[in-house]
Symmetry: C2
């Protein structure tokens, strides 16, 4: 039998789980405090729902669950590889959420303010060092077109980050509609926009020159490409410049009202800036998009946007929706490396007892349980060695039955 | 697209998740308070580990994950159905725990007192009404043969049950070794014992007559069967009677010391009784087995036992281990039906505001956030309707911006 985990997944040690649980509980409590409610959906979803979703590249990363019994035999006999699986592991929490909303909307308050914190799965190539099982922490507001929903999500996410000790960050914001208006104004054609966005999204990785080359290789108009490059050179490309470039636009009004509300409530603790270079990968975004970046972390630590057409795929009406997701694993990874100490953690002591009298030991343990977490350990011959091991393992003190009969704290 | 969950799995509504989270947090805090530490393992395990484990009937209920890319094509070409999957979803938390211990034992304190609370998967036939995705709450002690480990597990589990409000229960206890001694004394042969246990385990379902018939149909000795029936008629078959029947036995001493310690620490709040009829299904138990039953619940609400040989399958040494698992889904199901109210839950209010001034609304909301969870809702024309909906959805009060400018609680 193999003692390691399957590649791309982790066993978590007690100290690691304590940090993960702490982070999740702070994020969850913040979300709840801002009026969001937690739901849960299954990890396994119907394979057709997953396949037909707008997950972009993630669709190639679905773990598929083999059919069982007669159905499996039939699938094998059919010779059609696609028949082999009837379910898959979810690759994000947005697809399950849209299905959930369609399934349960009669029982939900509208707009629905919802929390999801749970595991998702992607069949990444293990050598990339990417996780195949990881946690996402999402909040979404479903059922309103109002850009106040964006303000609430930004406010809530910013407070969650500050509550876990991340204070140095800024929020970049853009609107897919404005980005498209700018690209149209530059001279690209409507049916080219998705492809232009895919190249443009690589700006951070390959630079303006790289984007230019890629767009040229796609044989888009050279004038349009030159115009786009001029916009990029005109840094910082403010919202006022955008307005001058494309004229009045619903998306500019929306961005202005979001930014002014956030500025008013942030109390200067964080800033929100318009970034015409922000694209975000997912195909399903229809309006506002945002990302949180911090000099203490490489890449984004949170991101999200508006997806007004997704739920309509399940029911015969368009339901507007917008979401914001915290990059839980990134934050956890940085905190773990930085020797993070969980604040206000209950102290832990050991009661060391003689094997023939556990009942007395448990009573002693009970007497300390209000103040401490208390673990029992049978006395061994070299009790000093056991005590050293406990101190190394993070215990704060010990009580030696039938000997000192008092609690000794290691830091005294 | 299908809006329902895959069969045998659930979407959980906010009220349901709140109860599930509450139950899990109380159980987890109790476990931690008694000195156990939480670990986490992946939901996906290597398919060979799962297939070779001693999961009994559960081995037929493994969801298998399809291979990907070239490996999948190779598997299809091989024509061997068993080649199609390389991983599976875990069917319990014990197999992953034994692998985890083998993988990480150098970093763990011994004995290792461990908590697992997580999801497991079984490909049950949906029509049975059984869940295919459900939560297990386990504690285990790994690395000691001492029956004090059993005492700790019983004490901790009993306190977890009492902390979630279950006060009327008793613990049945037996030892696989004693059960086997009794069966040998009755006249069965060593190699018949596993098969006899399988029939004997059905006593609750088919009665003594049914067991007798099944044993006869298996063509075991009639004398042995008659002797076993006499033991069953000699109710209550106490530990003293067991001692008289098989003579002094290590397992009797162990049961006596566990029962006397538990009696001393339970303070009369619950009892522990020897039950020679307790078998428990799993093939891997080697010693003590136990179950919790309550007149308020049908069937067992917790169960466990000693499995000293499982970890040895991963490493070249036998590591003793014993575990106790709370039947989370049963308890949750009963509480949900009984209109359970979460104790000391933070109250929740709504701030209803005009769409054009969310910044002021968020500041008002912030001023109440210490005392309440606060959700924002945009004012609609028929605001009375919105307020009714919020009350029905479980809100405790509301604040109407630009109108009454005060917090009104529904119960005032």
């Amino acid at each position: 039998m193999k003692i390691t985990t399957v590649k791309g997944t982790n066993d978590y040690l007690p100290r690691e789980v304590a940090i993960r649980d702490y982070l999740q509980s702070v994020i969850l409590r913040t979300y709840q405090s801002y009026g969001f409610e937690r739901i849960m959906t299954p990890i396994i979803e119907d394979i057709e729902n997953l396949d037909k979703s707008e997950g972009g590249e993630n669709l190639n990363l679905i773990f598929k669950v083999l059919k069982r019994g007669d159905k499996l035999q039939k699938a094998i006999d059919s010779g059609d590889e696609k028949e082999l699986a009837d379910m898959g592991l979810r690759y994000d929490l947005t697809l399950p959420l849209t299905r959930y909303y369609a399934n349960n909307r009669a029982k939900l308050v509208s707009p629905f303010k919802v929390i999801q914190m749970d595991k998702v799965y992607r069949a990444e190539r293990p050598q990339k060092g990417r996780l195949r099982e990881f946690v996402q922490c999402d909040i979404d507001i479903i059922g309103t077109k109002s850009s106040n929903a964006e303000v609430e999500l930004i406010n809530t996410t910013a407070n969650a980050l500050m509550n876990i000790g991340i204070n140095n960050f800024r929020i970049k914001i853009n609107d897919r509609r404005l980005l498209k208006s700018i690209l149209l104004k530059a001279g690209f054609e409507n049916e080219q926009l998705d492809s232009v966005c895919i190249s443009f999204d690589k700006l951070d990785k390959i630079g303006a020159e790289g984007v230019k080359e890629e767009l040229l290789s796609k044989e888009f108009g050279e004038d349009a490409i030159d115009n786009l490059m001029k916009v990029l050179e005109d840094a910082p490309f403010t919202l006022d410049k955008a307005k001058a470039y494309v004229g009045e636009d619903e998306s500019i009004e929306s961005l202005e009202s979001i930014m002014s509300a956030v500025e008013s409530i942030s109390g200067g603790k964080y800033t929100v800036v318009y970034d015409m270079k922000l694209v975000r990968g997912q195909g399903y975004y229809t309006g506002t998009i945002f990302e949180v970046e911090s000099p203490d972390f490489r890449g984004a630590i949170a991101g999200g946007g508006r997806y007004d057409n997704l739920i309509g795929k399940f029911i015969n009406e368009d339901v507007p929706a917008v979401g914001f997701s915290i990059g839980f694993e990134r934050i956890y990874g940085i905190l773990l490396e930085s020797d993070f100490k969980i604040p206000n953690q209950k102290k832990k002591i050991a009661v060391i007892y003689d094997a023939d009298d556990i009942a007395s030991a448990l009573k002693i343990a009970d007497s300390y349980r209000e103040e401490y977490d208390v673990a029992l350990y049978e006395r061994i011959k070299k009790v000093g060695k056991l005590i050293d091991k406990l101190e190394n393992a993070g215990f704060d003190g010990f009580y030696l039955c039938n000997q000192s009969e008092e609690l000794k704290m290691f830091d005294e």
